[in-house]
Symmetry: C2
Subunit: 456 residues, 2 copies
């Protein structure tokens, strides 16, 4: 079907005076004596295009909201520097009907209601904007890494090991419910992979294997967490960006994270001004100013030990008490970025007891070369570290945690064969979308959210 995207029509003046064809769905329709106005949207743009129908002597039947139309008409200049399409009834073809009980009439709907129709909610302004921002952010992430000599790798989703030695994993099986096996070993030996298999919670360990071959790599794919937590910030299936860089120390990891995040947000502001304005107006006042502020300053830096002192001396009444050794809670993270630094801030060098086995052990014997990036309004958005490159120190850390070294022999090989300083970080993609749109529930930034008990 030869036609032109609505986005192309409304974003330039080049079509003015031309007869063109568009397709799209009716968003609103108004009818008067001699003229009718139909707002049509084909999904390629947040903004509709207005079709002005000169009814003349024809038999004009007003289209219902949700109907799909094909319209051939002439592009003309509209009011307020817009373009619109002049058509006659004969130039309008109904491609698909919509009943009067079409769920998306022009009145506003709550996000809760729209969550009950995930297959249709993309037809609203809100989700049109969210899905486009998601896509533009993803493309900006690829662009950043590709132009900096990173290789995009796809680490495995089905895995035999568990990255963090913790966290609830999903199992993957072709057996499922069965009473045909005499014991657990018999069951898994007969399963598809001949052993117990699960869904990956992180591609980091395989990312390290790739980085110590290709130098600089990034992953961008799904990760899975079978956490039984029903919160606005957790999904059982989410998308994960995990760069990993050879010949990089903690400071390099921090520089990359800051540079990447600024590039991505700058790209969003450039490419999605309408969408950012929409979220600013309807979801978070001041969003655009906040994002512009973020990219216009160097991010702050503070060690965990300094941060603990700042929090203890703050005079604030935190719900969770602060002592050296404790994990930072969202209230602490937000206080640091919003009240103390008033900008994005990297917190580094956490106590080794609250961080993972693979993080580089600092000379003080107490902390590891970890980093979290805290941003105003959200808290942690990125977590990373330099990795322990020393074979003996890594083994010691794994033994302290009673890990099964046999499962990690490939990973340990990296420390035997030309080991190098290296590091990386993880970015939860949906968290970034929430941060850049002001959407408060993670279920509203992914097409079909998967959470405990919910798989529509």
């Amino acid at each position: 079907m030869k036609h032109i995207d609505v986005k192309e029509i409304i974003s330039s003046k080049e079509f003015i005076g031309q007869e063109i064809t568009i397709c799209g769905w009716v968003r609103t329709s108004r009818n008067s004596k001699s003229v009718a106005f139909v707002e049509v949207n084909d999904g390629t743009s947040l903004k509709n295009v207005q079709v002005v129908v000169e009814k003349g002597e024809s038999d004009y039947k007003e289209p219902r909201v949700g109907m799909a139309l094909k319209v051939t008409g002439t592009v003309v200049e509209g009011r307020n520097n817009t373009v619109e399409i002049n058509a006659v009834p004969e130039g309008i073809t109904v491609l698909g009907d919509a009943p009067t009980d079409y769920p998306l009439q022009k009145k506003g709907h709550t996000l809760e209601f729209l969550r009950t129709i995930p297959h249709l909610r993309g037809r609203t302004n809100t989700f049109n904007a969210v899905w486009r921002v998601r896509s533009v952010l993803a493309a900006a992430i690829h662009e950043y890494f590709q132009t900096h000599n990173y290789v995009y790798v796809n680490t495995p989703l089905i895995t035999g090991s568990d990255c963090e030695g913790a966290g609830e994993m999903f199992q993957v099986t072709t057996i499922g419910y069965s009473n045909d096996y005499k014991n657990e070993e018999d069951y898994y030996t007969n399963d598809f992979f001949g052993r117990k298999a699960g869904l990956s919670v992180s591609g980091q360990l395989e990312g390290e294997m790739a980085a110590t071959a290709m130098g600089k790599i990034y992953t961008f794919g799904p990760s899975f967490r079978a956490e039984n937590s029903n919160t606005p910030k957790h999904l059982a299936e989410f998308w994960h960006v995990e760069p990993e860089v050879a010949f990089a120390e903690l400071n390099d990891v921090i520089e990359i994270a800051e540079d990447m995040l600024k590039h991505v947000i700058r790209t969003l502001l450039d490419k999605c001004p309408d969408e950012v304005a929409f979220f600013d107006a309807h979801f978070e006042k001041g969003l655009r100013a906040r994002l512009e502020e973020l990219i216009s300053h160097d991010f702050g830096r503070v060690t965990y030990t300094e941060a603990i002192e700042l929090l203890k001396n703050s005079g604030e009444n935190f719900v969770y008490p602060v002592e050296w050794g404790c994990d930072l809670q969202t209230e602490h993270e937000r206080y640091l970025s919003e009240k103390v630094f008033k900008k994005a801030v990297f917190v580094t060098d956490y106590p080794k007891e609250i961080k993972s086995f693979y993080m580089k052990q600092n000379p003080d014997g107490k902390t590891v070369a970890a980093v979290d990036l805290l941003v105003p309004g959200v808290g942690e958005i990125i977590g990373g570290s330099e990795r322990e490159a020393d074979y003996d120190k890594l083994i010691a850390a794994m033994n302290e945690r009673n890990m099964n070294l046999d499962l990690y022999s490939d990973y340990l090989d990296l420390r035997k064969f030309g080991t190098v300083p290296h590091g990386g970080f993880g970015l939860g993609f949906e968290r970034l979308i929430m941060y850049t749109t002001g959407m408060a529930n993670i279920r509203d930034v992914i097409l079909f959210p998967r959470t405990v008990g919910s798989i529509r």
Copy 2:
């Protein structure tokens, strides 16, 4: 660690005369009386950079293959229009040792052997080239769709339904082996999602939901098939590109597939000349010419019915006999593209019995608006269709296949609310990499292949 990527050093003359620092792993080392030559590679480039060590009076210890070095020296012009680095022993720091039994000594290794060390094989020329081609192809796919107003969407991987109503699916569970449940219903009711769940074999159905909101979308993510087939062409976990376009008929789908594939291959030839030359020399003679040929012609078109006549009149002795109604086998597909058309060819309008329920039914009552793209040397690389947009016809096709309509109510809604002509196709990403590199086994184009019984 401040240093410059080897790729940057060797791909321009701008560093000549400058003192710079590189990092990398030793690929080869030669030692003579006063000078030593060390080939160093940091993974960012297929080509190494040569470090020329002026030994002088110093105590020079020859580095072993696989060791990681940091080298500070002066960039100079080498022979044959190359650049190399002049250094003295004091400018060389060993970052990481490698033992004499490091598995990748400089002699060549078989692909079979390298499959036993997937965590290290990226350090060979072959896999350095494959992983870079994979990354460049992925970026070119994103670039194509992003610049044509498509929205990148992430369809769910964990799913409650099965796209094709066929194909072996993996189950996803947090229970796995257990004798604690009295029956199947009890087991799945108590599972994480409260019902039986599996890994998606295709994002198409959700892609249609997104396309009828955003107009033009594409997915690029993993799909899973629990097929018990150990072949060089099948993976249990593979990456899948699935564009879906509203207001598109079969002919539009064909045009998009041809345009996208040509863009992607043109980008590869532009960005990876060294890698393509490497595969041409070592894996498939004439590879570059074949790819250039492909993008320089319009792809052919033939209907299935015409193709059957061509095959029947070919005089060839096919292993699988040809009759109208049969599925085309690889031998038939290759004959059509290699002998008859001598180029890529779209075969359209297949018998409805051998295709899926969602394909648009043609007026002849016998065929559907399906399309497969066949390419010389491989056979089918893309499969797609216009989708059935008519509610009643779709219901009839599903009833013919005894499908449970209740599981598809969201999908059927698309035909009730502003239904439009639409279509799309699927591209198996690993098949594309095999086609563009000449690698013959799909296990050699993905980092950690998952196949039946194998999950290292």
